[in-house]
């Protein structure tokens, strides 16, 4: 399991989008529906399952899917569906939390680089290049080594690992906007530099960020699950998809559902977020 890397700079595709923008896309609708279901699972898991994800029943281990246990039970008799539903919360927290931190930090660094003099910019961007040359899961592992394991540390690790992508994108975007005619015009009108940055540069530089961050949420969920899979993130017995996968592999010959269920959950979530994110990109293209 490796995290999917975020493209550092979005490809420019300004043509051939007008007709597609309004079309109904069943894939996007399914993705949105799935994300809606996840949101429900995260906010009110009790609506989707009546089982306790931590309740152990040694008499009922490795039960195949049935009316009582829709997705069967694990080696300790815990309900797999309940663990999956409750696991959605930690996945979403990981995805949204890590991305929010990464966007905030990355934007700050990107803006600094984009607006500062060329020496500062050069220094910052070379550091970013170094960080980008390290695969992000490896970078996350370095952070885990420094901070220690656990849910919160894993969240920071995943966040730090994706900071360089956002920094680089914002810096490039800042350059584009900085040289745009409307910024020149604003400067010519005698507006103060701070006002120009706040009113004109920031809002315009950030538009593509929304799209990149959406896709980044999917990647962060995958990376968080990877860390838990390796035993570095959320600790058992807390229900977490990466944990469930790692445990399930030991029993793959006894009960394949223990691997299939969390594996599908991770895959579908990342897929849904990516599909929705790409659609968002299509919709915003040509507007910036």
């Amino acid at each position: 399991m490796t995290a999917i890397t975020v493209p550092a700079v979005l490809p420019e595709r300004r043509d051939h989008t007008a007709g597609r923008r309004r079309a109904f896309r069943p894939g996007v609708a399914l993705g949105l529906a799935f994300l809606g279901l996840l949101a429900v699972a995260a906010v009110a898991p009790g609506l989707l399952t009546s089982h306790d994800p931590l309740e152990i029943s040694t008499a009922g281990a490795f039960v195949p899917p049935s009316a009582e246990h829709l997705l069967g039970t694990d080696q300790s008799g815990r309900d797999t569906l309940a663990r999956m539903v409750y696991g959605a919360r930690s996945s979403l927290v990981m995805g949204l939390g890590a991305t929010a931190i990464a966007v905030a930090l990355g934007s700050a660094i990107g803006l600094l680089a984009g607006l500062a003099n060329r020496y500062v910019e050069g220094a910052v961007m070379r550091l970013i290049d170094v960080a980008l040359s390290i695969p992000d899961l490896l970078l996350a592992l370095v952070v885990i080594t420094l901070l220690g394991t656990g849910t919160v540390n894993a969240l920071f690790a995943v966040a730090f690992a994706s900071v360089p992508y956002y920094a680089r994108m914002i810096r490039a975007q800042t350059h584009v906007v900085r040289d745009a005619t409307y910024v020149e015009a604003a400067t010519a009108l005698g507006l103060r530099r701070r006002t120009v940055i706040r009113r004109h540069i920031l809002p315009n530089a950030f538009k593509p960020l929304v799209v990149l961050a959406t896709i980044g949420v999917g990647n962060a969920i995958g990376a968080g699950a990877s860390l838990s899979f390796l035993g570095l993130g959320t600790k058992p017995p807390a229900p977490e998809w990466g944990n469930m996968l790692s445990l399930g592999i030991q029993y793959i010959s006894n009960d394949p559902f223990m691997v299939i269920v969390p594996g599908l959950a991770i895959t579908l979530t990342v897929l849904a977020v990516t599909v929705v994110g790409r659609d968002l990109r299509r919709r915003t293209e040509g507007r910036s």
Binding site: T58, S76, T149, P236, I249, Q250
Partner: protein
């Protein structure tokens, strides 16, 4: 159980005799129908005319990161010891010390002086000669503080000095009588290394490249990946109990560390490895029913898988809390979950195949009401927001650091969930093994779990004597840090006597006393599960460890 076992052992002895008598003469012994239970000394998948050649690919579970048998306590050595080294002693099928590189010996009347008569013509693979001086060099290496020996050194702690009478006669003096001395000399961890290699290597170098006199020679070792062994030409000094002579049939053994249970199982089924030292219990049923595989499940002498309390600090310094914890745990459920029918519920502080195991000893059972009563009486009557018990505003919290491995036992979660029912909070900490070792020897934990296998009932001294509590000078194995004068007295006396009636009495008393002291609770008897391809023949169940002994194994072409 013991009586049934001894008839089996007798049968096994007869079988070995028959094998020795017919040599390469034909008759095929089919793999036993009941594939699960094996006995010490049994020859598995024997018969047929041995074919020379071929490499055996063997999968193991975790790399001990050092292959010097004296410097580690990893159970890898039970198998590696028999590949790489030879011992002074080999146990017979009934568990009594028999000759190997020591052909015979005399013990003085008070049991403090052993005179060994050594086998002649034995050499180590680097050319060094096996003689009395070589044995002395090995004893000194085991006891050298630089070796940091966690097992071999402590096992021969009563060793005092040696006197070389002639090159093949050695007189060993002990500080005090020590009945298990000959037994421990038969263990893989006390395999003999070349005195030349010991002298010329640093401890780190010896870890990388130990040199023995065994049927195979270490030819390569890549940490966490694998090790390769090649046949030792001219080897001719296997234990007489095997009834076979000459060099190995296999050209070599290639070992890989395969940490993931599922991978180890599937690579065995697919014949990528022709043997594994560790069959995951969850796959045992599939291995048993596979006609292309031979499966073995042998109980090991020693301490069962036991969960232990750190009795040296709060809260488990209080006997009532320990009793309450035990009453809250449903051991049968634990065994059912992790055992998949392959593990037997432990009934005492020694495994049932251990000499002087007392079947009369009774461990307390699952009793939630009793657990609640004991905790109430001990003053843990408050409850916090999560429902855990509190006393003076402090939550009843216990720390359980465990090794962060590819395969984490479900036992930890199960125990955590079971004791939650009576309001005890268990915090499981997954730690890298180096950090775990530091915490273990430093006494920084409340719970610990594990097995301790040795081939004598002296395991009770190793695990529960005051002397065995780890300190700056000694890596002792008394992880419960229990210290009881009465228990110490009996266990020390048992080390001094060879009288069977007396030993029976002393070890019974000790086992009984442990059920009162509650340093922990045994969960299941510690058996080793291993398997190999039906194309591999003549694998012997080792008499000390119950593990596979490949000296004269051969592969069908």
């Amino acid at each position: 159980m013991r009586f049934i076992l001894s008839t089996r052992l007798l049968a096994a002895t007869v079988a070995i005799g028959a094998l020795a008598a017919c040599g390469s003469g034909g008759g095929t012994t089919p793999a036993s129908a009941d594939a699960s239970s094996r006995t010490a000394g049994e020859v598995l998948n024997g018969g047929g005319a041995p074919a020379d050649g071929g490499i055996l690919n063997l999968s193991m579970s975790a790399d001990p990161l050092c292959l010097d048998p004296h410097a580690i306590s990893s159970d890898v050595e039970q198998i590696f010891g028999r590949i790489l080294t030879d011992n002074l002693i080999y146990l017979d099928a009934a568990g009594n010390p028999g000759p190997w590189l020591a052909e015979k010996w005399e013990i003085n009347t008070d049991g403090t002086v052993y005179t060994f008569h050594l086998r002649k013509g034995v050499t180590f693979s680097d050319g060094a000669v096996f003689d009395a001086a070589a044995v002395v060099a090995n004893f000194e290496h085991m006891l050298d503080p630089d070796t940091r020996s966690p097992l071999a050194g402590p096992y021969i702690a009563p060793y005092d000095s040696s006197r070389i009478i002639d090159p093949y006669t050695l007189e060993v003096k002990l500080k005090q009588p020590y009945t298990p001395f000959l037994d421990v000399l038969a263990q893989g961890w006390l395999g003999l290394l070349s005195p030349k290699a010991i002298k010329e290597s640093t401890p780190a170098q010896l870890c990388e490249k130990p040199v023995g006199s065994g049927p195979f020679v270490l030819t390569g070792y890549t940490k966490t990946q694998g090790a390769t062994f090649a046949k030792r030409q001219g080897y001719d000094w296997a234990p007489p109990q095997l009834g076979l002579t000459g060099a190995a049939h296999l050209d070599g053994i290639n070992v890989s560390w395969v940490g993931q249970d599922a991978v180890r199982f599937n690579s065995l089924v697919s014949n990528q490895y022709q043997a594994t030292g560790y069959v995951p219990a969850q796959n045992a049923a599939a291995v048993k029913s596979d006609p292309k595989l031979v499966y073995s499940n042998v109980n090991r002498i020693g301490l069962p898988y036991t969960i232990e309390f750190n009795t040296s600090r709060a809260p488990f310094d209080d006997l009532a809390i320990r009793q309450a914890f035990v009453a809250a745990v449903n051991r049968e459920a634990l065994v059912k979950t992790v055992g998949f029918g392959e593990r037997q519920l432990a009934t005492s502080f020694v495994d049932r195949v251990t000499k002087y195991y007392d079947p009369e000893v009774k461990l307390r059972g699952h009793d939630l009401k009793l657990a609640d009563e004991l905790l109430d009486k001990a003053g843990w009557t408050g409850r916090d927001a999560e429902g855990y018990r509190t006393k003076d505003g402090k939550t009843l919290l216990v720390q359980w650091p465990v090794a962060q491995t590819a395969t984490i036992s479900p036992i930890f979660d199960l125990v955590q969930a079971q004791v939650k029912a009576v309001g005890i909070k268990v915090n499981i900490e997954l730690l890298p093994s180096a950090q775990l070792t530091t915490r273990r020897y430093g006494g920084d934990y409340d719970l610990s779990a594990g097995v301790w296998h040795t081939n004598t009932p002296d395991v009770l001294y190793v695990k529960y004597a005051t002397f065995s509590i780890p300190n700056d000078k000694r890596l002792g194995q008394n992880t419960s840090r229990i210290s009881d004068a009465q228990l110490d007295g009996w266990l020390e006396e048992a080390r001094r006597t060879g009288d069977k009636t007396k030993l029976t009495e002393l070890y019974s008393k000790a086992q009984q006393r442990l059920t009162e002291l509650v340093p922990g609770f045994p969960v299941y008897d510690n058996s080793v599960l291993w398997a190999f391809s039906a194309k591999l023949h003549n694998v012997v169940v080792d008499t000390s460890h119950g593990t596979p002994y490949f000296a004269y194994a051969w592969l069908e072409k």
